[in-house]
Structure formats: C-alpha cells, structure tokens
C-alpha cells in the first residue's frame, strides 16, 4: 500500500463527504420556497427555482460519482443525524459569512439563495472562519488536489473505483446538464466543471455552460436565475458585459410577475415549537420527516451501489414528499393571521424528541 497515496486519497474523500453535505444543504431552502408557492402564481419564479433544485440534485450525484470513482466500496451516509444541518445553519465548512434559513418564497429567501450561489470573484470575504468564500472556491481547491494526486500517482492508481457504481444516467432529467460517469481525471474535472458552472456561470458569463458542455439550450447559471427573480425581469445576452459580472446594469429583458402576498405564497413559519401543534398536525410533521429521510435513504442506497431500484424509489418519494409538505404548509398556525406551518427538516428521531415521543427505533 502506498501510504502517501492513501493519505492523499483520504483527504480528497473527506472533502467529497463535505461536498455531499454542502450540495444537499442547499436543497431544503429551495424546496421550502417551492412548497410555499401556490400553484398558478409566480409560475416563472417557481419554474426557475425548480431547475436550480433539480440541478443541485445532479450535483449530489456527480459528487457520489467522483467518490465512487476514487474509492472502492465507499459507504455513503446521508441518513444519520448531522448530515442535514439544523437550520438556521452555515453551509458546512464555509467562511460563515451568511446563515442559511428555511423560509417561504420571499425577498429574504432570495437574498440567501443569491448568497449561496454567488460567484467567488463577486464575494468580499467577510466571514469569521477560514472556510471557503464561495462553493466555487471550495471546488477549485478540490480540483487542485485532484490534479496533484493524479500528477503524482497516475489515473489508474487514483481512479480505482467500481465503474458499475457510477449512477445510471437515465434517471436524471428535467434539468440542465447530464450525469457524468467518472472514470479518470478528465471526466472527474468535467463533473466538477458542471457543478461550478451551473451554479456560478461559465467563463465569466451569465450562462451555465450546459450549452457548450451538452449542446443544450442556453440557460442561466443559478446565481443569475435568482437575480432575475429579484428583479422580476429576464436577462438579455447583451447584459453579460465584460467586467460587469454582477450585472450592475441588471437584467434588461422582459418582465414577469413576482408576488409575495398571502394569496400567492403560503406564509410558512419555521421557528415554532412543534410540541405546541395539534396532535394530528404533529403526526403530519413526523410523516414528512420520515418520507424525507426515506428519500435520503434511497439516495444513500443508490450511491452505495444499489442500482436502479432505489433511484426509482427516490424519484417517487420526491413527489410524495412535496405533496406532504404542501399539506403541512396549508395548516394554519392560528386562525387570526396568514401564518402557516412550515415542514421542519428534522431527523425523525430528533423531531420525536422535540415532540416528547419515544423513538421507535
């Protein structure tokens, strides 16, 4: 055994474990915004957030493929308490410059989304810790590490994983990009490129890079998608002026309606005490947690070499989970205001504790 290689490998695997947590941590905030949006209102915004959420799921798969390419019999853990942060929370190992919270579709939520997806070169480091400034920066460090390990040890030694564990591309659809099977340095760098470019933009441009990478219809990077919603206005290609990455000039294309009123958005609250709810609503909350953790479990099984069956299950659970969340968000917290009950992304065991119930193992 080459100790130096294995140490180097362990270091990268550890980063990929963090990457999985980061990618997932962005999803519940996006989901909460989508769940809160009443069907028929904010259609353009809803469709936009949906593509981002779906592409974040793609990123989880790409991270799984990276790790499975470099590690034989990798054991992913997505279901233990701790994998999902208890919101409000910092993005794992970030510079802690902002807090991610769960919120209904709102200006506040969009502010956070923009922070999550902000390109590194638009960031002024303000955080306390020495963590990454942007997700892109996190992946750039990973990319350098990867290049270094391959330069020293060669493709064959580094990419020793089981190719059968690469996730079946058929089950990714309705979002930009494709699942990239990782087998060597070039495909590994491509997977990272897809993640970074979909989030922050490609080549100092507004667009995601899927057009060049996969010959798809040109689509904005996540950061700019959220900027569009903030402005209620589409970007035009001409808005991508060089040296003006933040679009100081802003989107100047056609406008679309953004409506944060109680008619269009379920004003869900997330900082209530679940034990105060009526018993049947407590059961619904618990039901949601169980479904969401079944979904994470199905992803975990697929990443751990489970084949197509858990992917089909995960796909179906995404729908069931959505409908359950909307049912919870339709429960009034009281009859005197527009406040609704937010689904808490708490591990079932943790939620049971908060509800004063015994864990049923």
């Amino acid at each position: 055994m080459n100790l130096r290689l294995e140490q180097h490998r362990a270091n990268i695997i550890s980063r990929l474990t963090t990457a999985m947590q980061i990618e997932h941590a962005t999803i519940p905030p996006y989901l909460c915004a989508m769940y809160s949006m009443v069907e028929g209102y904010n259609v353009a915004a809803w469709e936009t957030i949906r593509t981002v959420a779906i592409e974040e799921m793609l990123h989880m798969v790409l991270v799984a493929n990276l790790r499975n390419a470099m590690e034989h019999d990798a054991s992913f853990d997505l279901t233990s308490p701790g994998f999902v942060p208890e919101y409000p929370a910092y993005l794992p190992e970030s510079d802690q410059s902002f807090t991610v919270v769960l919120a209904p579709f709102s200006e506040k939520a969009l502010d956070i989304f923009v922070q999550i997806e902000r390109p590194g070169d638009l960031h002024t480091p303000t955080g306390e810790s020495d963590g990454y400034v942007s997700i892109g920066e996190f992946y750039n460090r990973l990319k350098e590490d990867l290049k270094a390990i391959v330069a020293e040890h060669g493709d064959d030694a580094v990419f020793c994983g089981d190719p059968a564990r690469q996730i079946n591309a058929a089950w990714y659809f309705n979002g930009g990009g494709e699942i990239v099977a990782v087998t060597d340095q070039s495909s590994a760098l491509r997977a990272i490129r897809v993640i970074v470019n979909q989030g922050e933009g490609f080549n100092h441009n507004l667009y995601s890079g899927d057009h060049e990478e996969f010959q798809e219809v040109q689509d904005l990077a996540h950061y700019y998608k959220f900027r569009e919603i903030q402005a209620g206005r589409r970007y035009l290609p001409a808005d991508a002026t060089c040296g003006n990455l933040d679009g100081a000039r802003g989107p100047s294309g056609e406008t679309f309606t953004v409506d944060y009123s109680a008619k269009a958005v379920r004003h869900a609250v997330f900082n209530y005490n679940p034990a105060d709810l009526d018993a049947p609503v407590q059961e619904m909350l618990l039901g949601f947690s169980q479904l969401y953790w079944q979904l994470l479990g199905a992803c975990e099984e697929a990443f751990n070499g489970g084949g197509a069956a858990p992917l089909k299950k995960a796909h179906e659970l995404m729908y069931v989970t959505k409908y359950k969340a909307e049912e919870i968000m339709n429960q009034p917290l009281d009859y005197h205001s527009d406040s609704r009950t937010g689904p808490l992304f708490l591990h079932p065991d943790v939620l049971r504790q908060k509800l004063g119930k015994a864990s049923d193992g």
Partner: protein, 641 residues
C-alpha cells in the same frame, strides 16, 4: 398580398410538421398555413390549456380547448366573433343543423359519425393518446389475403423503413423484442429510441390471469395475451440504438421535452394520468416538438402562419397544376384575404378537411380538385369502438399512469377477417372514465339525487375506494372496411358563414362486416372477464350517454342482442392511395394523380384501416412524401409555368 415559397403546407399537425422539418433540413423554404391558433406553442399558452382542462366540468378529449370555442374567439370584424380559433367539432344529433357550435353536418345516414377533431397548431397530436402501433403485413393486403377491402399499392416491407423514421421522430417508447410477436417483421439491428413505458399493475394482473388463454373462432384457436403498447411518450433512452434520420445528432437518443423549455420539462412521463386530452409535463409527443426543429433550422427556412384558413386551391388555366392557395387570415383585425404561391403544395389537414378543401375548390361541387377518380371524400373510415367494462375481484390501482400501457392481443389478425372485423383491444388504466365518466359519477351516484337517501362519511370514502380500485375498461377498436357510401361532401350554400368556409357534410354507417365483428368482440370481452374473475358491467344504451351520441344497433350474434359504438377520432380513407388513377386519388407517394405539384397527405390516403391507431402510419407516409418532394425540388420539377 402574395407570398412565395418552395413548398406550401396546409395544416401544422404531425404530417405537415414532419414534411416541413425534413424539407427545411434539406435546405428548402417551407410555409405552414394553420387554421387554428398557436396556443400550445409557448410554455404560457400550454399552461393555459392545462388550466382550462382543470376548470371544465366534463373532462372530455376537447376540454382544454373548449373555452376558446365559446369565450375567447377574437373579435375580427365589427363585433362578430371570429371563426375557428380552435373548435371542438362535436358530433351532433342527426339532422340537427342549427346547433350553434356544430361544425360538420350529418344527414341521411343510419349512424352518427361519432368522432371529433381539433383545429390548432400541432393538430390532433395535441390531444392524442400517443399510441404508436405499426400496421400488420396482412393489413396491407386485405383483398388478396381475405377477399375483402382493397390492397395497398405497396406491402408492409416497403413502408417498414419509414416506420423507423417515424418512430424516431415521434420518440416512441417500446421494446422491439416484444413487438415482433405481433407478426410485423423488424430489421435485426433496429431498436426503438426509448425503452417501453412500463406495464401498469393492471396489465400485469391481466397478463398473469390470461396466461394460456385462447378463444376459438370457426374451430380455430386464437391465443389471447397481453403486450405492451408502443407509445409516443418519453421514457429512458435505449443506449446505443441508432437513429435512422439523416439530421440526427450523434450519440444516444435525447428525449424531446417541452417545445418551449426543452431541457426543463417533459423529458419523462411522470404519471399525470391525462395523456388525453393534455400531458401537463409535455412528455407526450405533439407535432409542436417536430415543428420547433423545423422553425429553428438554419439549413432551410420554415414559417408557421397561424389563424389562416385555406379556403380554395387555384389551378392553372389548363387545370394541370396548382397555381396558388387562397386563405382567410384572421390573425389581424379586421380579417383579410391572402394568397400563397409555391412550387409544391401539400394538403396535410386531416381526412375530412383535406377532402373538403378539394371538393370546395372545384368548378362544381361534385367535381372538385384532384377528383378524376370521383373518390375524393369517399371511403371515410374510423375505428368504431366498442367499450366494455367490468369490476375486478381485486384492487388493481386504476386511475394511475398513462391511459393505456398495454393491449390484449390475439384479435388483430386471422382467417376470420374474411367474415368480420378484427380488433385491437386497449386495456384502459383509467377505470371506467371513458364509458361512465368515473370517478365523478361514482361520487354523484353514492351521494344521491335530492330525493334519494345519501351515502356519506366513512361509507362514502370506503365505497369510492372499493369501486375505483377495481374498475377496468377494455376498448375494442374495430377494423372498418372502405365503403363508398361513407363519405364527406360539400354543398353549395352550406357554409360556415363567418368566414365563407364550406362545412363538411358526412354520411356514415357500419356495414354488416363490422357489425358482426363487433358482436364477436362483445363475446370475446365476456370470455376475458370471465377468465380473469371480473364481473362484467357493460350496458348498451340506444340514447348514448352524457349527451354524447353513440352509434347503436341490434345484432343477433352479440351476447345481449344490442351494441353501441363510439368514435375513436381515427379519420381515414377519403383520398385513398393506389396504383391506378381510376381507383385511387393519390399514388404511393401521396401525389395527386391529376396535379403533379399537389400532394394530399395524411391518413386520408390509407386504403384500408387495419387495427393500428393510424397516426404512426400517417407519419411514416409523411416521410415517404417528404423524400418525394425533395426529389421533385432537386430535379427542378414540377415548376408551375
């Protein structure tokens, strides 16, 4: 105003779209004249159709489009409502010509022609199920094999390569390994672009119980089984399958989603359970998907002009070639008249409208354009459909998934076809929604009329569940032979006054061949239900049901002595193709025998019906025609002098 193009296509349904895409990819300039609106062609417009569907109390195949019939017609001239923005041309009771919303008329015939059609960009594919069965070899040779009907000008093998093109253009989900069992040969190296849409739990339930079952007809045994149905609906791509189209990008087939947002919606069927009338995800093929590529092509050019009703085909003075098309343009207020010229003209509306336009353009109404055979408008065929339904012993999860994912096979071909119609048997995944409009009527019946006791609460919830979980419908789509007396025609003065467009007049009835076939089908249905332990609930109602007029007749061969049939919307036969100008309207390329620069394309060219839903065959014919037009244009002929 006069416009000029290489090719002018009337209609933007699947036939027009396929021809337009093929020719633009070959560098030609094409115009499509569409009588309806482009409503489904944007994400927002498509969503509006879905919203309309939600809010229509009767969720019939035209429900997404209905509101435009009554409420949203643009005012085009001094406050008068515009003509067909898009119209549900519903079948009306016989003789009832005064119905405000009726479009075509029926008189004289014994049975109602029970089908409707749409006028909208994308055509009938906007509300089709997406069934993509190939016809069987025998279907092309009914005269020589069974002594009935007529032969096609070519056999299955000659059309087979075009089936492949059509399957890849539509994006058909199926397994070649399962479909070869139908008896239609496929090349050994061919595979469909996508894996099959998986069988529903109901399909699996029936397959298990029908294993080893057969029915005897005239001493011959016909094995009955369950086979997955090829569907124009997105599934997972077949890795490594080779695209037969010359313009295909390299690599595996990429499912085509929403025409407006192709990478974001509709790349897979996600089980909305509403293929008819509308797939909210846009996972189902519509001709707009093909049109999108034609309109975006940078090799040639395609223009889609909507709200243009072609009213007349003008011939040159000698009557040899088509010189121009006149159209009525209500895309502007007030509406204007326009004219388009091209080297080649294609009629690609549907079997009724193609024939109507030809007949309306003649010097006399009887004569018509392209009608030296006298056959334009004659031999109108549909798939008269016998609905049967039953309650199963076990809950099978009805009302989930696409409307149908498999069929009961065994009655599509056999010696019996010399005596009576064959049938394709569709397994309905949506309970009794077609024959009985469940679950609505289930709830309405349980809750009860005002003077009846009511079922409510836990009982209601449980009984709704019990009933709905067990419903099954088998629809028998019957082969119908060509009959010259089944026809569409026009008459002086019978016009849609708002835009001087002739109304089609239809005569229609079922012959004894089809009646006997339907009687046989009713017995096969009963035998199947018996075998699977279901309780049959089929009723035949002379009045039709829920305001829909059905065909009704008595036949001694049927179980109960009476039968009722519905329309399938499969319009065919009115400009039949053949090898002889005396007995056909178009040749094997769908070119008019009478006018060299006129193609009359679509299912109207089919000489016989068979039992496959006709759209795939129409699409295959469109590819053949597109290649013929391309040859014409490259050869520099035919050019109007």
């Amino acid at each position: 105003m006069e416009l000029q193009y290489d090719v002018a296509i009337v209609g933007s349904g699947i036939t027009g779209a396929i021809i337009a895409r093929w020719l633009t990819e070959r560098g030609h300039s094409v115009v499509l004249l569409e009588a309806g609106t482009p409503d489904g062609n944007s994400r927002a417009g498509f969503r509006q159709l879905t919203e309309t569907f939600y809010q229509e109390t009767a969720k019939v195949p035209s429900s997404p489009f209905r509101a435009q019939q009554s409420r949203d017609w643009p005012v085009y001239d001094s406050g008068v409502e515009a003509p067909t923005v898009l119209r549900d041309m519903a079948a009306r009771p016989l003789g009832d010509e005064a119905q405000a919303n009726a479009y075509y008329l029926q008189r004289g015939a014994e049975h109602p022609f029970a089908s409707t059609y749409l006028r909208i960009a994308g055509g009938t594919t906007m509300h089709w199920m997406g069934t993509c069965l190939r016809m069987l070899p025998a279907d092309f040779e009914m005269r020589s094999r069974y002594g009935v009907g007529v032969n096609w000008p070519f056999g299955y093998n000659e059309l087979e390569p075009f089936y492949r093109l059509a399957e890849w253009e539509i994006g058909v989900s199926a397994e070649r390994s399962e479909q070869v069992a139908s008896g239609a040969p496929y090349p050994a190296d061919y595979e469909y672009p996508m894996h099959k849409i998986p069988d529903s739990w109901l399909d699996q339930y029936l397959a298990k119980r029908l294993d080893g079952f057969s029915v005897a007809i005239d001493g011959q045994s016909y094995p009955i089984g369950v086979t997955n149905t090829p569907a124009g609906r997105n599934s997972h791509p077949h890795i490594g399958a080779k695209d037969p189209r010359f313009y295909a990008p390299p690599g595996n087939y990429r499912p085509v989603g929403d025409p407006d947002r192709p990478d974001q919606f509709g790349e897979r069927c996600v089980g909305n359970s509403s293929c008819v009338p509308i797939c909210p995800a846009n996972a189902k093929y519509t001709a707009l998907k093909t049109l999108r590529f034609a309109l975006a092509s940078d090799r040639g050019s395609a223009s889609l002009l909507t709200r243009r009703i072609v009213t007349r085909i003008n011939l040159d003075p000698a009557g040899k070639e088509v010189e121009s098309l006149d159209y009525f343009d209500y895309s502007v207020v007030p509406a204007i008249k326009g004219r388009v010229r091209a080297k080649v003209y294609v009629l690609a509306t549907n079997a009724i409208e193609n024939a109507k336009l030809l007949l309306a353009s003649g010097r006399s109404r009887e004569e018509g354009v392209a009608n030296s055979s006298g056959l334009v408008g004659r031999n109108l065929m549909d798939h008269p459909t016998l609905l049967t339904w039953a309650l199963l012993r076990d809950p099978i999860g009805a009302f989930r998934g696409p409307g149908s994912t498999a069929g009961v096979t065994g009655m599509r071909d056999g010696e019996f076809r010399s005596k009576f119609s064959s049938a394709r048997i569709e397994i309905g995944n949506w309970g009794w929604s077609w024959p009985k409009i469940t679950p609505d009527t289930t709830v309405i019946d349980l809750v009860g009329a005002d003077d009846k006791p009511t079922v409510f609460g836990q009982q209601l919830r449980q009984q709704v569940n019990f009933q709905s979980q067990r419903e099954v419908t088998l629809a028998f789509e019957m082969d119908q032979l060509p009959d010259e007396n089944n026809r569409i025609y026009v008459e002086e003065g019978v016009i849609e006054a708002r835009h001087s467009e002739f109304r089609p007049i239809i005569d229609f009835s079922l012959d004894e061949y089809c009646r006997r076939g339907m009687a046989n089908a009713s017995k096969v249905a009963s035998a199947i239900y018996d075998r699977v332990g279901a309780t049959e609930k089929t009723e035949h109602n002379p009045e039709g049901r829920f305001g829909r007029k059905a065909g009704y007749f008595r036949h001694e061969d049927s179980e109960t002595g009476e039968l009722e049939f519905h329309g399938a919307g499969h319009l065919a036969g009115t400009h039949r193709m053949g090898n002889d100008p005396k007995s056909s309207v178009v040749d094997a390329d769908q070119r008019s025998w009478d006018h060299a620069n006129l193609y009359i394309a679509g299912c109207g060219s089919m000489p016989t019906m068979g039992t496959a839903n006709p759209t795939l065959t129409g699409a295959a014919l469109a590819f053949r025609t597109a290649q013929s037009i391309d040859r014409d244009l490259l050869a520099g002929k035919p050019v109007t002098p």
